[in-house]
Symmetry: C2
Subunit: 262 residues, 2 copies
């Protein structure tokens, strides 16, 4: 399986602390050594890094850990391959352009024998994850439109996510740079940090940060991850079927779909 | 204006030497300090780096200079903004997916008031370059098909490139990972290195490489750039209107279109 990490913030914020924790699980404190990737939105642009090797020993991941790239929305993934071989084309997050925006997606889970329906977007690699993403993008393009409200778009995203989750395991992060959609099929957790900020200790590395020293009183920064990344904070666990739509660090819509047998 | 750098090789080859020369022109030996980007194909996947800051002083560019990423096809660009403001979304190379492959594009030149025709692919930023790329991708999608021969595809590319070059300045590099299409509207040069290899000296940095020590007898590596990057090799200058289609380090098709007034 894999691990997901997302960030939604109301001010450009770096992901160094959480990224350091996650990437240690990529071949060091965790088995997810089959590639890693991260995408940071900067305005409508995306700064992305991908490697098909383990993040724990990566020189490029090390630069991303120490080089503060400030973003309002970021999506990160470390991979333990199940479907699809280990190669760059199979490394999340995946990106496609729709209506003049880059849409970025990462998936944790597995849907056996997933077949995407015909459409404009096609997978480049051979993972179920990218095929699902392309299917989702094709559905959005055909069922919605550029100026649709966020409520309308969320309805489509939730319907599709529920549909995928009934076929297998489908935890996902999706963003177009304006919002971050998160869906939990089996496992996802979040934490929102706001004033008064305190210190936090990573589970996976001997690293503590004092957010008080790094933030202003108005900052709201939310982290969404497969597993809580810190040992001394109260993370909010998603229920199976639960979705949350984040914007500027806050949940602006949420809900839960029924998943049979759970 | 901007500067382009492309590579086509018959074996995975790193771009460290040429990239070092080019990125010095991004705010040091040259004025191209408004962003830089590079895309390396690894199989069908693409490892890309983009920044909206000067490459000459970039920590990430420094890692790419020293970290040998081996690729058969790579496209690099350093930017001096003319159309479009300085931001990540305006930083070349640009990427779109078509027929299950990533297509990567970088442009040197300017077409004033370029308007892309309606189509599936849309620009995210506000450069003429990305609008031209999206227009080109829409033309390829509508005028060609997945299993078209490379001759058919080249005919479309040359027609489109000539059309753009008649509207302004259009030097470009385009690849889908299988081949590298290059078009010269005003300025482009190439060099093909093969056995017997010798040493080469960068123009822009006090760096010499002995390719003999880094290659095998069968390697063929071609570099295409806006300006020759070395001071002691014989670069082959393109004529205005000339195009060359590269694959595995060799020119497999080439030709010249008439550009009025030149």
């Amino acid at each position: 399986m894999c691990e997901l990490l997302g960030m939604s913030a109301n001010t450009p914020t770096d992901l160094c602390f959480s990224f350091t924790g996650l990437t240690r699980r990529g071949g060091d404190t965790g088995p997810h050594g089959d590639g890693w990737g991260v995408a940071f939105y900067e305005g409508k642009g995306v700064q992305a890094f991908h490697e098909s090797a383990a993040s724990a020993s990566s020189e490029i991941a090390s630069v991303v850990q120490s080089h503060p790239i400030k973003s309002n929305t970021a999506i990160c993934h470390i991979r333990q391959a199940n479907v699809g071989h280990v190669c760059l084309a199979n490394t999340h997050p995946f990106t496609r352009e729709l209506w003049g925006r880059y849409w970025v997606f990462a998936h944790n889970g597995q849907i056996n024998d997933f077949r995407q329906r015909d459409g404009i977007y096609e997978a480049v690699g051979d993972t179920d994850s990218e095929a699902i993403f392309c299917d989702l993008m094709n559905q959005i393009r055909s069922r919605s439109q550029r100026d649709a409200s966020l409520e309308t778009l969320a309805t489509i995203l939730v319907q599709q996510a529920g549909d995928y989750a009934r076929q297998g395991v489908f935890n996902c992060l999706l963003s177009n740079g304006d919002w971050l959609f998160t869906f939990c099929s089996t496992k996802l957790a979040s934490i929102t940090r706001r004033a008064p900020f305190g210190p936090a200790q990573l589970k996976d590395a001997d690293v503590t940060v004092d957010f008080e020293a790094e933030t202003t009183a108005n900052d709201v920064v939310s982290i969404i991850a497969t597993e809580p990344l810190t040992s001394d904070e109260a993370w909010d666990l998603y229920q199976p079927g639960e979705w949350r739509l984040w914007q500027q660090g806050e949940v602006i819509q949420s809900g839960k779909v029924a998943l049979p047998g759970r």
